[in-house]
């Protein structure tokens, strides 16, 4: 059977992001950090904002807007017992679906996935919406250039906070 190139790309992206999610679910956060390119960034756009795909953290007040350096600090903080909100750690489960490759060229793939992430600690909360991955092709695999989480909520009610990695 002849599988079109487009589908192969999607399969490769899915394989990569499913593994990415598995690291987060297992709290293997150092290994997760290692998936990010040197110029990689991790962002969570503010709930209720118009056009979350278009905005920049240089002009808009994001919920999270980490360049690689600050992401390292975020991981380092979350690794300490005095990061009280995640100490003891919550249980986390990421579910990715509806993966669509939007652009593929120049050694870079942009893909979107719908997501639901559950966090359980004294009750369960859900985060949901869409994630944009900008992935740099590296040999057989990828490095993350940008992971942008865009939630379909108007406010962090009842979620309250984003203390886990989405």
């Amino acid at each position: 059977m002849n599988i079109p190139e487009r589908l192969l790309t999607r399969l490769c992206v899915e394989d990569f992001i499913f593994r990415e999610a598995a690291l987060l679910d297992a709290w293997e956060i150092d290994a997760w950090l290692a998936l990010f390119a040197e110029d990689g960034s991790y962002e969570v756009t503010p709930p209720g904002v118009d056009g979350p795909d278009e905005i920049s953290r240089e002009t808009v007040y994001f919920l999270i807007g980490d360049d690689r350096k600050r992401l390292e600090h975020r991981i380092s903080r979350l690794s300490k017992p005095n990061a009280h909100v995640e100490s003891p750690r919550s249980k986390v489960r990421h579910v990715y679906s509806n993966v669509v490759v939007a652009e593929d060229g120049g050694g870079e793939v942009t893909a979107y996935a719908n997501f639901i992430t559950f966090r359980t600690k004294r009750g369960t909360i859900e985060y949901f919406g869409r994630i944009r991955f900008v992935l740099a092709r590296m040999g057989d695999g990828f490095m993350i250039r940008n992971k942008r989480v865009m939630m379909d909520i108007d406010a962090l009610v009842p979620q309250g906070k984003v203390s886990i990695l989405l």
């Binding site: 919920l63 807007g65 909100v85």
Partner: protein
């Protein structure tokens, strides 16, 4: 008034000789107390509504829920209006959009239409009413009893007989004015976060200017901060807590982090350094050295009793802390900065704010965790008192008094005002 005699009420237990000041946990965890508090405090105090930049142009509007009310805030040619967002005909919620710019608001039920001034536009003799049906304003949208502003910040009061906003703010007023002196162009809202917490709203008010919790709760943030400050002289910040009038209070310390107005961080780069130094020179030339230092070199945390937080740290942040019930709150937090701010300074302002403040930052999630742990501690019952005795000495004045910044003087001022209004 000064604390020189023992005092007991439903809410406070004060023993100056023993240097003990305690607050009943009923204030956080009792539904009946909360209902009484709504009546005696929340519906009688000045509550934060918005900054003028949120309705900057004629016909700008937004909808905002405050306590049990949904309010429609508009600007017409004459100024800012705040109405109950309900059609005066049969009561449907009138405006269903969150914000925008609009010349008229149509009710979806029977088609009544209102101008941003609140006047009825379309009900007249042609459709079965007497001509000029709203001549006496009887059909106009109904206003919240009081709306007043200070330095561009609007407050409302549901009590028509309340004292004026300026009188209520008292000594706190100047500390609002100074926020507006960051720039001659005026401030604007840059961003907004809204998040819920399973705790009584007063927990967040206490937390917002509590210096004492900083090191234990935020050690993991300060480890990050230390890395950011590398290469700059570091010392433990000096400063003070000050109780103002009417239960308002502030904590003012030396700055401990980057600020796009006076404190540069090496990670921001050389270009930002030049811009920040130029801002400092401009401030001193415009305001004089003393006021410029008070504005630029001071980390200021302030709570306007009972639920407005006006902080000037990494950036200006206003919080309106709203109860949803006695054990649940919603915090709304607006980030403000100068209009027409240099792009680079705006970028570092956002960076500084993002890392510390906000429900995805390195500090606020741990605060939220602490507040929820407190609420759970109160909910179990069996223990009557919280202690707020740090730095308490016999004869302490409840207003216009100062103490070291990580003492609890300002929290005692808050609770003294609370007790006064609840015991009235």
């Amino acid at each position: 008034m000064g604390w020189d005699q023992p005092y007991e009420s439903r809410f406070l237990s004060v023993d100056p000789a023993a240097q003990r000041f305690r607050v009943s946990r009923k204030c956080f965890a009792d539904a009946a107390v909360f209902e009484e508090e709504k009546r005696k405090i929340l519906y009688k105090s000045w509550l934060y509504l918005c900054h003028e930049s949120e309705v900057a142009k004629v016909n700008d509007f937004f909808v905002r829920e405050i306590l049990d009310k949904e309010l429609l805030v508009t600007r017409d040619a004459a100024g800012v209006n705040v109405f109950y967002n309900t059609c005066t005909h049969r009561g449907a919620l009138l405006c269903r959009n969150k914000a925008g710019n609009r010349k008229a608001f149509g009710c979806p039920y029977h088609g009544w239409t209102f101008a941003p001034s609140g006047r009825v536009l379309t009900r007249n003799a042609e459709v079965g009413y007497r001509a000029d049906v709203d001549a006496d304003g009887a059909y106009s949208l109904v206003r919240v009893p009081r709306l007043e502003k200070r330095a561009g910040f609007y407050f409302i009061n549901f009590d028509p007989d309340a004292i004026s906003l300026d009188e209520f703010l008292g000594d706190a007023g100047d500390r609002i004015d100074i926020l507006n002196e960051h720039t001659t162009d005026g401030l604007e809202v840059i961003g907004y976060h809204e998040y819920s917490i399973n705790g009584n709203y007063k927990l967040m008010c206490e937390n917002s200017y509590d210096g004492y919790h900083l090191m234990p709760t935020h050690a993991s943030y300060f480890a990050y901060q230390k890395a950011m400050l590398e290469g700059l002289p570091q010392q433990a910040p000096g400063g003070f807590a000050i109780s103002l009038t009417h239960g308002h209070a502030a904590v003012e310390t030396d700055i401990v982090s980057g600020r796009p107005i006076a404190q540069w961080l090496p990670v921001w780069g050389e270009h930002a350094r030049e811009l920040i130094e130029a801002r400092k020179v401009e401030l001193e030339a415009r305001l004089g050295a003393t006021r410029a230092a008070q504005l630029g070199q001071t980390n200021r945390l302030m709570v306007i009793f009972p639920n407005t937080v006006m902080n000037d740290q990494q950036s200006i942040q206003i919080r309106s802390v709203l109860p949803v019930g006695y054990d649940k709150m919603i915090t709304r937090a607006w980030l403000l900065g100068p209009k027409n701010e240099d792009k680079e300074l705006r970028r570092v302002r956002l960076e500084g704010a993002l890392s510390f403040l906000g429900p995805g930052g390195f500090a606020t999630p741990d605060d939220i965790e602490m507040l929820e742990l407190c609420q759970r501690g109160y909910a179990m019952g069996g223990v009557q008192w919280n202690d707020l005795s740090k730095g308490f000495e016999a004869g302490e004045e409840t207003a216009r008094s100062t103490s070291f910044w990580n003492n609890e003087l300002h929290l005692r001022a808050y609770w003294t005002q609370y007790d006064k209004m609840m015991s009235a």
